[in-house]
């Protein structure tokens, strides 16, 4: 970003095509960062306005007004109140939906009163004819006293007009309020408010009073005076109501002269689709059917790319091993870093596919109907209709799911959603489930058509959801948090999804996962590699002792190498750790080797499989050596002489992985979102306790 770039803030109601416009203006020149001090993602992009002029466009979260009710929305207020030259926008671009212009202009009128140069882009004008809408553009410009552009972001029409308008608006750099909050409500009151400072517009001062949000530039003295206004809370509230009414009166006056809508042309597509999607029986049937289709396709489509990624990383690792000089650094690279990166990337197919579906559901407007259908049910469990989105996303990965809770305005409902989301079966649990199920559940059909293994997997998904709901209910009854539950959801028009928007959405969500989870999984992989390949002083003698052991003298070179690797692991730090915890996990049916896998699973659950592969020194790419599954199947418990992974142990492990909070990346995100270590620790120990007890009971009953 250079100094001459115009800083543009993009603002608009949800469902106005704001994202489409952002994507059209910036293309692939966008990046997601963080707002300093807060956790909400900041989407920025560079746009070429003219051959000589660039703009940095910040996409602010969708909001109906500057007065925030959720964390997402509070960003808008914070950005606009900033007086910092570096941060505050030069021009504000307000996007409005042509069909809902009246309501959209409320936000516009608030922004205009901040006295920052503003461009109004009226979107979806390609729909005007069909909806019977006519606009007197030149009169509207005059009445609103601002640049107004008609666009159709999806069809890429009018984008150049927006760019030109931004430049004109920036050059003119003049801005005047549209409504002015003072004279119609209580002139004396607002006169006194205005006297506090001349550095701010009256509306800015009023926002500081109503929102208790003060820019850093406000002096202590000014702040005290502003806070004095807040003393009379009911008066402030009353004036906020009056202000809104007044704004609508002004907007109505302007629209009466400039905007005509012929209601007879309204189509009833919305009504017809709503009849199906919100039907008291069919609505739910359709939703469940949709979930079924989604999960089915995740499994069908993701398998191939996942195998491809898995294979590629194994090859890269082998290539590096064979071509780099032997040494600690090569070991670190081939046994720590490369598998670590592979362990992150392997999840991309499943996560991307699930987010593709979620993006489609949101783009089409169907998700709001699900929220509408589910709110009452979710509320009984202390959550919100909006909690359904994180709970579904959680089946891909808890990290983006927890970030998706930001739209829930009530803190208690949001917190409960955050706390229970990790119970849903995320993609990292799948490899663990898959291998355990194939070991302990026979590959037969029940009722003649249902694959028993697949059915057990389905039961595990159901277990995850049921536990999440139950845990939410317990939290709802025990958490003593007072927070006002409030619920307003707009039911947008049904739309065909835009491929471009969905592409960017999936790209962004996947990127977030790779960055957030990736850095932790990678770091832990390296730490675990170190712990597994180093040990206390006697560690160095392991290789020598194994070679010299007379029992091993008839082994082939390959078998000897495997024996050495196993022995080394047993004597490494992590082996010692596994042996240390063995007494406490024996009641669950586990030995120290499984104990190691439990510990390493904290990086990511699927590391379980990889760890066992290392412990049983399996080389999967060699046809002669047994696969990890065969190795696990033949592993024997020396005490009982039975198979190690028999039915009771397998079930106990399945239950453990269903409940335990074995994901550092999720804990880190929960800490960030709740701004305290308290909640992630409660999650870690609460879920850990539940996992331990349940596995204990499972094993003791079955064995």
């Amino acid at each position: 970003m250079s100094k001459n770039d115009i800083k543009v803030a993009l603002i608009g109601n949800p469902n106005t095509g704001k994202t489409s416009l952002f994507n059209q203006l910036t293309g692939l020149n966008q990046k997601v960062g963080n707002y300093p001090g807060v956790t909400v993602d900041k989407k920025e992009g560079l746009s070429k306005l003219s051959p000589t002029q660039n703009a940095v466009i910040t996409d602010l979260p969708g909001t109906y007004s500057i007065n925030p009710t959720s964390i997402d929305e509070s960003i808008v207020l914070k950005t606009l109140l900033k007086k910092d030259i570096k941060e505050s926008p030069d021009v504000i671009l307000v996007v409005a939906d042509v069909e809902n212009l009246k309501r959209n202009l409320l936000l516009f009128s608030q922004i205009k009163d901040l006295e920052i140069p503003t461009v109004l882009a009226i979107n979806m004008v390609d729909q005007m004819n069909r909806k019977g809408i006519t606009i007197d553009l030149s009169l509207l410009k005059k009445q609103l006293n601002t640049e107004v552009v008609l666009i159709s972001a999806r069809k890429n029409e009018g984008i150049n007009d927006v760019k030109a308008a931004i430049i004109r608006c920036h050059v003119a750099a003049k801005a005047s309020p549209l409504c002015g909050v003072d004279h119609k409500i209580d002139p004396d009151y607002f006169m006194k408010l205005k006297e506090i400072s001349s550095d701010y517009s009256l509306y800015e001062l009023w926002l500081m009073v109503t929102q208790s949000n003060f820019p850093e530039t406000v002096t202590k003295e000014e702040k005290e005076k502003l806070l004095a206004f807040k003393q009379d809370v009911s008066k402030v509230k009353k004036y906020q109501h009056k202000e809104t009414i007044y704004r609508y009166q002004e907007i109505n006056k302007i629209l009466k002269k400039t905007y005509i809508i012929d209601k007879s042309k309204a189509t009833d597509l919305r009504a017809r689709l709503d009849k199906i999607f919100t039907h008291k029986i069919f609505g739910y049937v359709f939703f469940v059917f949709l979930l079924f289709i989604i999960f089915q396709s995740i499994f069908d489509w993701a398998t191939l790319p996942m195998d491809l990624i898995d294979g590629t990383f194994a090859e890269i690792s082998d290539f590096a091993k064979n071509n780099l000089p032997t040494g600690v650094l090569t070991d670190l690279l081939t046994e720590g870093v490369i598998p670590g990166i592979g362990g992150v990337l392997i999840f991309i197919p499943q996560i991307a596919i699930l987010f593709l579906f979620i993006a489609i559901l949101e783009e089409t407007g169907y998700m709001s109907r699900v929220v509408f259908l589910m709110d009452k049910i979710m509320r009984r469990f202390g959550m919100n209709g909006k909690s359904i989105v994180p709970l579904i996303s959680g089946t891909a990965c808890a990290i983006p799911a927890i970030m998706a809770t930001r739209t829930i305005p009530s803190w208690k409902e949001r917190l409960i959603t955050i706390l229970v989301t990790p119970f849903t079966t995320c993609s990292a649990r799948l490899p663990v489930y898959a291998i355990l199920i194939s070991l302990i559940i026979p590959d037969t059909k029940i009722f003649g058509f249902l694959n028993l293994q697949g059915f057990v997997l389905l039961l595990l998904y159901a277990l995850g959801f049921a536990t999440a709901i139950l845990a939410a209910y317990i939290l709802h009854k025990t958490l003593k948090i007072k927070s006002k539950s409030f619920f307003v959801v707009e039911m947008p028009n049904y739309k065909l999804p835009s491929i471009k928007n969905i592409f960017y959405e999936v790209l962004e969500k996947t990127k977030t996962f790779v960055l957030e989870a990736g850095k932790i999984i990678l770091a832990l992989s390296i730490i675990l590699w170190f712990l597994a390949s180093n040990g206390p002083s006697s560690f160095e003698n392991v290789e020598k002792n194994t070679v010299q052991n007379p029992l091993n003298q008839y082994l082939s070179e390959k078998e000897l190498q495997q024996k050495i690797a196993s022995a080394e692991l047993e004597n490494s730090y992590i082996g010692i750790l596994g042996k240390t915890i063995e007494p406490s996990i024996r009641p669950l049916g586990y030995d120290w080797k499984i104990g190691i896998a439990l510990i390493t699973s904290f990086a990511a659950r699927e590391v379980f499989v990889g760890t066992l592969a290392t412990i049983y020194s399996v080389e999967a790419d060699d046809e002669k050596t047994a696969t990890i599954k065969e190795k696990m199947a033949t592993e024997v418990n020396p005490i009982t002489g039975e198979k190690r992974f028999n039915f009771p142990v397998g079930m106990s492990l399945l239950v453990f992985y269903a409940f335990a909070m074995q994901c550092m990346a999720t804990l880190a995100i929960v800490k960030r979102e709740t701004k305290s270590w308290r909640w992630p620790l409660i999650q870690l120990f609460g879920m850990g306790f539940l996992a331990y007890i349940s596995s204990f009971i499972t094993y003791q009953i079955l064995s």
Partner: protein, 86 residues
């Protein structure tokens, strides 16, 4: 006469497809957020759909299609036009 034509009730008592007009008196009971979304005194409000478990309610007011909870809806007073053929 007027009292026979109009009856006072709340959005929560509307039947599906019925229309009412938000009363001026309920201004203080409408949450700011709803006001901002177009739920203004004097506005025509239509109950479009009721969720299967009787809550939330799906309304259309001032061109906005909104889902609100019954709890909120029961606080917003409306004037309902009585059918004349009774």
């Amino acid at each position: 006469m007027l009292s026979k034509l109009y009856s006072l009730s709340t959005i929560a008592t509307l039947q599906k497809g019925e229309i009412g007009y938000i009363s001026e008196e309920s201004l203080d009971f409408i949450p700011l957020k709803l006001l901002e979304m177009g739920c203004l005194p004097g506005a025509e409000v239509e109950l479009v759909q009721i969720a299967p478990l009787k809550d939330p309610l799906y309304i259309c007011v001032n061109g906005s299609h909104l889902a609100i909870r019954e709890e909120t809806a029961s606080k917003i007073q409306i004037l309902k036009v009585n059918s004349l053929d009774v």
